[in-house]
């Protein structure tokens, strides 16, 4: 590809480690870290076998802009590219919790859902749970392959999580 060709996402780096870390930076020099934290504990009550479940965490490692991170049209496609880079195995389950620390979790959840439905890979399946958490809601999504060997246990888990407050 020529160097001046328009890009669809930022370059990203695999940092590695036991938490499967990726990094990228934006044109505003904001540094993001995307981490996939092993979360097999979610399934321990359902299965004896180990499940490759991971919690995806999006973090701003450095924000030289100061206040709120400026909107950037390439951030979302970059996170998507990282997601698919990690989600190569049909055995993976990814769980994502929207950040509610600034009260903007609804907007993040809409963005994440739009992204998912706009770019869905054919064999992926997503389930959501909306859970009361004090005066807020915790918004949780889980994604896995429809061919995942523990697909039914995943559905069971999510139903269980969604009923946590009932």
């Amino acid at each position: 590809m020529p160097k001046d060709a328009p890009i669809s996402n930022y370059s990203f780096a695999w940092v590695g480690g036991e938490h499967n870390i990726y990094a990228f930076t934006t044109n505003d020099d904001v540094g993001y870290e995307i981490k996939f934290v092993p979360s097999a504990y979610l399934f321990v009550d359902y299965l004896e076998n180990y499940v490759n479940a991971f919690e995806m965490v999006i973090s701003v490692a450095d924000n030289p802009v100061g206040k709120r991170v400026p909107a950037d049209p390439l951030t979302e496609p970059t996170i998507r590219a990282i997601f698919y880079d990690f989600f190569r195995s049909k055995e993976h389950v990814i769980v994502y919790i929207c950040d509610s620390s600034d009260g903007r979790q609804e907007a993040r959840f809409r963005k994440f859902t739009n992204w998912y439905y706009k770019n869905i890979a054919v064999d992926l399946f997503k389930m959501d749970a909306r859970l009361p958490d004090g005066d807020r809601f915790t918004l949780l999504s889980g994604i896995l392959s429809k061919k995942h060997p523990y697909f039914s246990q995943f559905v069971e888990l999510f139903k269980h999580l969604a009923e946590a407050e009932k």
Binding site: D29, S59, L131, L161
Partner: protein, 56 residues
């Protein structure tokens, strides 16, 4: 004899997911401040972005 572990409730699992997320976000900021090798990865990515912009 091993004591069987008590199964986690749904609420406990959600709490743990939220705690992991908050800890990971805190660690990312701290690591950037304290780990020069980690910071160098971001510096390199910034350099790549700048070069790409300059080549436009």
């Amino acid at each position: 004899m091993e004591t069987p572990t008590k199964p986690m409730t749904a609420r406990e699992k959600i709490r743990r997911l939220v705690d992991v997320k908050e800890q990971a976000q805190r660690e990312a900021r701290e690591r950037y401040q304290t780990d020069p090798e980690y910071r160098a990865i971001f510096d390199e990515l910034r350099k790549e972005n700048a070069e790409r912009r300059a080549n436009k």
